[in-house]
Point group: C2
Chain length 257, copies 2
């Protein structure tokens, strides 16, 4: 993947003609689903927009209404569209609440979902170092935006966070006076980037000097380290984030199914 | 919930007559799904068994074949049945591999799924203490089986684990000479208990004396603590497990969607 590839570039939306070629090995509804994902990815369908009816989409693409319905149901399971009873199907819009619910897994031991604030946000631009290039699949010479901040809960520092973003995807970000507390809905609204999925690797670390200072604790205390990569709809990595968390009276929750 | 409630007791399987009463608020396929879950839970349908065809089930229950298909698809999503092309639908059988894949989230940093061995397994019976009663929803006086073991990977100690099980659900377990490395498939085969789902709470801890000895490390090192409760199909808690993990060259992986 090239460093200059744009995840949401406005390339032509695929048409029904493509159904018979590149995607032909998949079931029909999955081929239709891929067309719809591409419309969302490229901004043909915008967040919050009401999309055409199943009847209209079926006629346009030349498949049955049942196939369109199956494709839209699959998109709804992936949180890409929302089906509203009696009103139609809308492209899912990222909101701070929804993003926290999907991608933030810290809970109070009593059960409440933690919604952290942000403090001391710093931003800088740099050439990506080797590790950043590997994690974000960037070419030598590509620039990144580095963000560091302390996230607080109930007034106390809880997370020391460093975020690395490929600069090319966020052209105006460094000019923003303040960046918002929840980033993913901002990415979608301002930069047309839908954070689609990712992975988080959890380990334990002893607090170093920097974390100890940021979290106002003694060095050496055991902390949770979350190492996260998030991807856009086209599988391009768009964020690498390391969160060092002081979990006192709180935990990271995983549901096992 | 009473301490003597058996998750998989052989009570009468619900019949079509019940469709119109207790479950009537749910969509029809969900009502049919609940009937099937109960047949698996009570052992009317056994792990590995081929269940009747959609046609037969539809006629028996008095719903359409499409409704039966929807119910079976929902069960397949929950890993309770397996649909095999051209062969029919089978009650899912727990195997060591499948259980590890579903419920064990430790990976090598290189990407490989860790399949730990077990050492120094000890078992004892005791009256449940207050915390055990709370976690396993047991009455005062109920007995538990306490298991402790060290799990190794590539020959090195990796996890110090304590497992608490309500004794009533596992009548013969304490008489077993050795208990297997992977427990959940054993629970299903020997005790008819299907581990259906659960939750895992992750925190960081400093190694205490006991963990340090078991894991052959210095006290004070940062470790991951996994605190897990697993439930049977009827939502009864059947296992409380605390795993203290030394993650060197490894991590706990969470997929974010």
């Amino acid at each position: 993947m090239s460093a200059t590839r744009k995840p949401n570039s406005k390339e032509a939306s695929p048409s029904g003609a493509e159904l018979t070629t590149a995607l032909a090995a998949q079931p029909l509804y999955a081929q239709v689903e891929a067309i719809f994902v591409d419309r969302i990815r490229t901004g043909v369908w915008r967040p919050g927009q009401l999309i055409p009816s199943e009847f209209e989409l079926a006629r346009e693409i030349g498949v049955s209404q049942g196939t369109v319905r199956k494709a839209l149901n699959a998109l709804a399971v992936d949180n890409l569209v929302e089906r509203r009873q009696g009103r139609g199907t809308f492209v899912a819009e990222h909101t701070p609440d929804k993003m926290l619910f999907r991608f933030f897994n810290l809970f109070e031991d009593g059960g409440g979902h933690i919604e952290p604030d942000s403090q001391n946000t710093r931003m800088s631009i740099a050439r990506a170092n080797k590790e950043e290039r590997e994690r974000l699949k960037l070419d030598v010479g590509a620039e990144v935006i580095r963000v560091s901040r302390v996230r607080t809960h109930a007034g106390k520092p809880m997370i020391y966070e460093t975020i690395v973003l490929p600069r090319q995807f966020f052209p105006g970000l460094v000019k923003e006076k303040t960046i918002p507390n929840t980033l993913y809905d901002h990415f979608q609204k301002e930069y047309g980037l839908t954070v689609s999925h990712g992975e988080e690797r959890i380990t334990a670390v002893a607090a170093g000097e920097r974390e100890a200072k940021a979290l106002e604790i003694a060095p050496g205390l055991p902390l949770i380290r979350l190492d996260r990569t998030m991807y856009a709809l086209n599988e391009a990595p768009i964020e690498w984030r390391v969160s060092i968390c002081l979990l006192s009276g709180a935990h990271y929750l995983v549901r096992l199914r």
